[in-house]
């Protein structure tokens, strides 16, 4: 007690210590090891040795540019879809949910009670060639637009749909939180000042909900870009993402340096995308 009293300045650091310790043991140390591994060369048969093999990075970018671009594209489309789908839902729950709010939120989270793998496998059945979805699309003459070769499963559409579905709650929940905090009287004030409902939404509600939009898009986009389960189960070889390549490098080829360097390239790509995005919407929106 006496010690802390005398060194009051230390208190915030002491409070931070457990978190910092956690991060350094479980994030920084493995990350450092990964960086070390990414600069190794050799083979599993003869062992890997550290040789400053920067060529690994060049190889990763040169050989797998297609998969990197595809990952960013799929994750980007899925993020936009998730935003478009969950904004009205979150809006409705926040402003019209009333006493059902908690139950409705539970419905959004409910799929998360089932494991990721099972949720994704369910889409194999939903989108099956002989299933209801494909037959309906066929009747509506949309199969040619959304699918290819008369099917939806094992196409890009299925992969993007799977990612959108799997990450939807990460979008919906932050949106709900930021919408729920909006002071209703601000919207009333806008209408008192002769703003139409639509204009009040555009000028008041939407800007105030931007922190939720930013948080939601980041929480969706970042894990989606590294995902490989959806592409593996719902895609064809032509839809594989960079996560699939990293997985096969690590597990099948036992080429640990290649897998490590590709992970770093992915990290850098995501970081760059996020920075551009943050720049465009303004960083203060991140924190509200």
């Amino acid at each position: 007690m006496g010690f802390l009293h005398r060194h009051r300045g230390l208190t915030p650091y002491l409070l931070l210590a457990p978190g910092m310790l956690w991060l350094s043991i479980f994030f920084l140390v493995p990350l450092g090891f990964l960086a070390y591994q990414s600069l190794q060369s050799g083979s599993i048969d003869f062992g890997y040795a550290f040789t400053w093999a920067w060529g690994n990075y060049w190889d990763a970018i040169r050989s797998y540019r297609g998969q990197f671009e595809r990952s960013i594209l799929y994750a980007g489309i899925a993020t936009v879809l998730a935003l478009v789908l969950s904004y009205p839902v979150a809006y409705w729950i926040a402003f019209r949910g009333g006493r059902w709010k908690n139950l409705l939120l539970l419905f959004i989270v409910a799929p998360f009670f089932v494991t990721y793998l099972i949720r994704t496998l369910a889409w194999e059945t939903i989108l099956s060639d002989n299933g209801l979805v494909v037959r309906t699309l066929d009747h509506l003459h949309l199969l040619g637009v959304l699918g290819s070769n008369g099917r939806v499963l094992s196409t890009a559409t299925a992969v993007v749909a799977g990612i959108t579905y799997n990450f939807l709650p990460f979008m919906a929940l932050p949106l709900y939180v930021s919408l729920e905090q909006i002071d209703q009287s601000l919207i009333e004030a806008a209408q008192d000042l002769y703003a139409s409902k639509w204009k009040a939404f555009l000028r008041v509600t939407l800007p105030l909900s931007l922190p939720g939009v930013v948080a939601g898009t980041l929480l969706t986009f970042i894990p989606a870009a590294g995902d490989f389960i959806n592409a593996q189960l719902l895609g064809s070889p032509k839809n594989h993402m960079i996560g699939n390549v990293i997985e096969s490098k690590y597990k099948e080829l036992l080429d640990y340096p290649a897998a490590a360097s590709m992970s770093f390239v992915l990290m850098a790509t995501i970081l760059a995308a996020v920075l551009i995005y943050a720049r465009a919407v303004g960083t203060e929106k991140l924190t509200g």
Partner: protein, 383 residues
């Protein structure tokens, strides 16, 4: 540290450390820092527990019990800690690799890995597999002749087969005419987008090479490239829907696949639900693979060897076979099975005819460890 150590070096150092290959010798070989050898000993004393990792649904089962394991415990007083934690070779290897490469015990005495993956030969090459105690396995004489000298373990010093299976073509006879050749599977336009290939390098390569008129047991750059070109053409034309692991069975059952490369034992199990599923070796031949029991470094050699001897008893092998439905490597098991379950004993997918066995190839083990081939394959299946 053992990463840099070849098996020969390991053995040399072990021999230098001690006249016989005993625990201190092995520890000396590893630099003595590890607890790896804790359970590893050549002494002829049984451990209390045998830690056995196997694939799912790969041993006899009655309710929650495994009768053959109970019998082993009764006879030898060794409890078998049986875990079904192997789903595919690559994932399992990546699970045990960190322990093995840092010289620590994997916590397992017996594991089962497939010889058409690179891993069994890699385990031996890197000194990560223990030598069997053959003095404890007199029943090794019951190993069928075809299995006695695989080129990655010519004298069966490190491994014994658990089960084998064949890779061929499975199809749904309600949805297609019989598909009896790879040419038809990869070229028949009526099957477009409804054809599956296996993501397992060895299976797909062996069948395609045989169909190209090349020899899968001797892979050369030329024959390899020819096979890759054949597969690429089928993928680019949209004929091939996807490369599958075990999951092709669901797609075949649902009708998303009409014809696919398939493993014999899977089809036996799927036929129970859908008798319209058929399986054949392609006219140019299929391939045969074997799941092998191996003792990972640090495992209890004597106890694991005693267990291997136990399952090479024809009567025990027959009991396991009656449930597992793959191909049994034990001579005399068929005769023993005829007494308890003749329908299984007479199923040619479980006890193949000589004609079938003459029509299956074994993939070249050196090709499996060829980095260039492996990379080309992985790039093809995740284009």
């Amino acid at each position: 540290m053992t990463d840099q150590l070849t098996r020969r070096e390991l053995l040399q150092r072990a021999a230098a450390g001690s006249a016989v290959l005993t625990l201190p010798g092995l520890l000396a070989a590893c630099g003595g820092t590890s607890k790896a050898g804790a359970g590893s000993t050549t002494s002829h004393k049984l451990a209390k527990t045998l830690h056995f990792s196997n694939w799912t649904l790969y041993i006899d089962k009655k309710g929650n019990r495994h009768p053959s394991l109970d019998q082993f415990q009764k006879q030898f007083g060794v409890h078998v800690d049986y875990t079904e934690d192997i789903n595919d070779n690559a994932s399992f290897f990546s699970k045990i690799q960190p322990a093995l490469s840092s010289g620590q015990s994997t916590g397992r005495d017996l594991i089962v890995m497939t010889d058409n993956s690179r891993y069994p030969s890699l385990l031996i090459k890197k000194g990560w597999a223990e030598k069997l105690d053959k003095s404890a396995i007199p029943n090794i004489k019951n190993l069928i002749p075809q299995q006695q000298h695989p080129n990655w373990d010519p004298n069966r010093d490190y491994s014994l087969p658990w089960q084998s299976g064949m890779t061929g073509i499975g199809y749904n006879e309600q949805l297609t005419e019989p598909v009896l050749s790879m040419g038809e599977l990869l070229g028949n336009k009526k099957l477009k987008g409804k054809v599956g290939l296996l993501s397992e390098f060895a299976d797909t390569l062996a069948l395609v090479m045989a169909a190209n008129g090349d020899d899968p047991s001797k892979v050369t750059d030329q024959t390899f490239n020819r096979a890759i070109a054949t597969i690429k053409k089928a993928v680019n034309s949209g004929q091939v829907r996807q490369f599958y692991g075990n999951d092709y069975s669901g797609a075949l059952a649902k009708g998303d696949l009409v014809a696919t490369m398939a493993w014999s034992g899977d089809i036996v199990q799927l036929q129970a639900d859908n008798k319209h599923l058929k399986w054949n070796l392609p006219d140019t031949g299929g391939d045969i693979w074997t799941d092998n029991m191996l003792i990972p470094k640090g495992g209890n050699v004597y106890t694991a060897s005693v267990y291997m001897n136990f399952v090479y008893e024809p009567k025990i092998a027959a009991e396991i076979e009656d449930y597992v439905n793959y191909i049994c490597p034990v001579t005399g098991a068929k005769q023993a099975l005829e007494k308890i379950d003749p329908s299984v004993a007479n199923n040619t997918l479980i006890f193949p005819t000589k004609k079938m066995l003459d029509n299956v190839h074994i993939i070249d083990a050196t090709a499996l460890n060829n980095e260039k081939y492996q990379t080309a394959w992985q790039n093809l299946i995740s284009a």
